[in-house]
Symmetry: C2
Amino acid sequence: MRFVRLIIVILSVSLQTALGQLLVPSEKPDRTQQLQIERGYGMFMHFGVNTFTGDEWSDGTTPALKYNPSSLDCDQWVRVARDAGFRYVLLTTKHHDGFCLWDSKFTEYDVASSPVKTDVVGAVSKACKKYGVQFAIYYSLWDRHEPSYKDPDPQKYIDYMAHQLTELLTNYGPVCELWFDGGWDRKSENWGLERIYSLVKKLQPDCAVGINLTIVHKEGSGDAVLPDLMTENNKYFFQYFPSDFRLWDPKIAHKADKKQYLHLGKSYYLPFEHTICLSKEWTWFQKPNPRQPRDLDELEELFYWATDNDNILVINVPPDNTGRITETDANAVIALGQRLNIKKGKPLPRNGRFISLGTMSTAGSVYANDITGYGPQCAVDGGMQTRWASADTLTELVVNLKESDRFNKISIFEYQDEHKSKDPNDIFSNQRLNRIQTYAIDIWKDNSWQTIFTDNRPMGDCKVIRFPMYYRTAKIKLRILKATAPPSIYEFNVIDCEASK
Amino acid sequence: MRFVRLIIVILSVSLQTALGQLLVPSEKPDRTQQLQIERGYGMFMHFGVNTFTGDEWSDGTTPALKYNPSSLDCDQWVRVARDAGFRYVLLTTKHHDGFCLWDSKFTEYDVASSPVKTDVVGAVSKACKKYGVQFAIYYSLWDRHEPSYKDPDPQKYIDYMAHQLTELLTNYGPVCELWFDGGWDRKSENWGLERIYSLVKKLQPDCAVGINLTIVHKEGSGDAVLPDLMTENNKYFFQYFPSDFRLWDPKIAHKADKKQYLHLGKSYYLPFEHTICLSKEWTWFQKPNPRQPRDLDELEELFYWATDNDNILVINVPPDNTGRITETDANAVIALGQRLNIKKGKPLPRNGRFISLGTMSTAGSVYANDITGYGPQCAVDGGMQTRWASADTLTELVVNLKESDRFNKISIFEYQDEHKSKDPNDIFSNQRLNRIQTYAIDIWKDNSWQTIFTDNRPMGDCKVIRFPMYYRTAKIKLRILKATAPPSIYEFNVIDCEASK
């Protein structure tokens, strides 16, 4: 036993030595992470064979000939990103289907075999230089086309990846981030991650590496930790080591997100990168009939939420089958950037202070009387996966505040009923239907409730209420006057907006 | 006959002499009108016995005891007006019911006979001085309480009015405007208007006088002219002479509103004062269950529309039965003032140039094939009473533009179905239900239609679409994708927003 333990120590030490300069136990960001946190805001772009078939995922059998943008304009993609204030563009160079957006020497399943042979990786990285936007790469570990992937020896496919990543990290200038996806299809030890990570760092020392579903409950397990639970340091473990940042697409981190995660007994600093869709319906690849962008208010609040606390946000803005970002999507993200007033070289804008966070709250009713699961505390806990759910349609939520705290903004993230698309190809898409139709906000003043806001339009994913002056109160009430089903609220945030300025 | 004619000429000349300095034929504003146009934006306040009964009009029998505000705070009214950027407050000193908001020596039907004896006219005019807001008076000609009103000799009641107006114009400092209502209940010659007008000008030379339904199609008739028709100079006539400005509550003037109106062969300059409700449901007196304020976008566009072209806007913000403006209403108008960025002593902000006004337009269908009544031209004619109405639910409107004109904003005023309130006391209130649920805006570019905006939320009274950049196109299309009934549009405005700045 002592001998075995010694071997483990020796192995561990040699591993530390091999990766020593690469990922160091720390309680603060290293240079790569610091650069990533300062970037903070990127444009995710899903583009590939799926853009032409209406699929979200395909199995690697879609013919390369299907890839056929009628007026491919990668310059427009990055111009939109620049105009919108995005600081980097994150491109799906290869999705699970294995189709490559560049002419890879190691496969024929790429743009060079398609009707439109433009090297999209090249065109985007070139436009990034032109517009002063950084360039980042999404690359699927899982590959449903490449024959070596199915070889009993996992090294065969790891070699393939190493070759392709060498192409990507050598031929296209600086790459600020590498986003690996699909790790669930193999055991984590069968991806050659140490080798891949070392290769990346050798070719691009400042490139931040992340692997989707980074963190697990138990070391060596595959049970990923919801970002909502990541409110304690040194409680959870790496599934994929080494990684420079955490991912769980498309989840939203907790407001009290913590950064310390364990690997072999050491604690590492790891920021979280959020990946959300511009569309309300969570589609990643653009569909023939483009989906409705989220409302500006929701995008603004999600931006603040996701970039607060030294975390990062990428918003997916997929080009359509003509090879351009739609004007509708472009308008939405550019309008968002203008509203946020993002300035090049300046820190990203911040939201105000949440004076309601973690306060006492009560509700008219709770679904199935399940206080732990759906109690009113879930609406002010800072977690976007937990929610207060009521039992009645006409109900109310009361949140206690400190009367010394002022506020001038409220944001409410309402739970939505999701209905799957009727299109069988469209497995990820859904329609979101809100419940709350008419509602009021009251504050407790002079020993009675005083209404300060009413709305008779549907609440929706995220309602932002801006007051033209500050209020102070010991308690605030959301009063539901009309709803199509018992209301449910992810978060009810009472915000002091000048506090952070 | 010749003798009769001579007498008429002599009478006419003496009338001209008597009123000579008061109202002069002109093609430009006189001093009073110029001051009124520069003020431009006022807060209308309906308050009185009806505030406590839920009525819009009452017949003069409501006991004065009903008037009983629990915490009357006229200072708050004017503070809200000041905070919202209103430049004057227009108070209903006496509505059709005859109840007076001051202690009039000439009636007992006033606040002095009520449980709360505060002289509201005094308190408001005092607060106006304190907050630097001008003071204006609404006074109903029609009086359903005052006994002298029913006297066969019309002079009796004219004397009563003269006495009351002398009180109002003598005891409360400067009054910038006098708003007369209810003229329809007598022939215009039976109101003693020359006497009243002269009295007002003697006591308050700068006070602008207006009488609701000012303008008629034929001299001496009662057939009032819709403001939508007022697009030609010297075509229509005074019903009430003299008047300093035009009124037809609550109509909206035409975008090409003209200012010259005739009386006895002479042409006079007359601006138009718009009177609209803050609430979506057109209630003037506050109801026990306060109504939803209009959306900020609609208020902003109505502000621009109504104050453009040297016209004037008052928005009705009625105090509730506690004697205060509700926080909800206060928030709405203060937020509007902040968004408009109204500055004391500066000209009022302006909208951009309407590049769609009077252009050619086509529609997918027209209601009952009535092109004259409901054709697509009605949506770009600058008139808020005319509208395009379609025959189909899924239809479109195409508006031709000059390709040299740029735009970055669209505002759409959608027709609403009105449903009367179920409350029998609430005869003026209605619910407004919109028809268009999902829609897109396309522009013609490179020989095809390109979508630049989509929305899957109900359009409503006024949808404003702001683009983060300018577009230029030869034609623009509103495409309806979902509607609950055949859509109808009052105005579809394509606007170049920097043009006016």
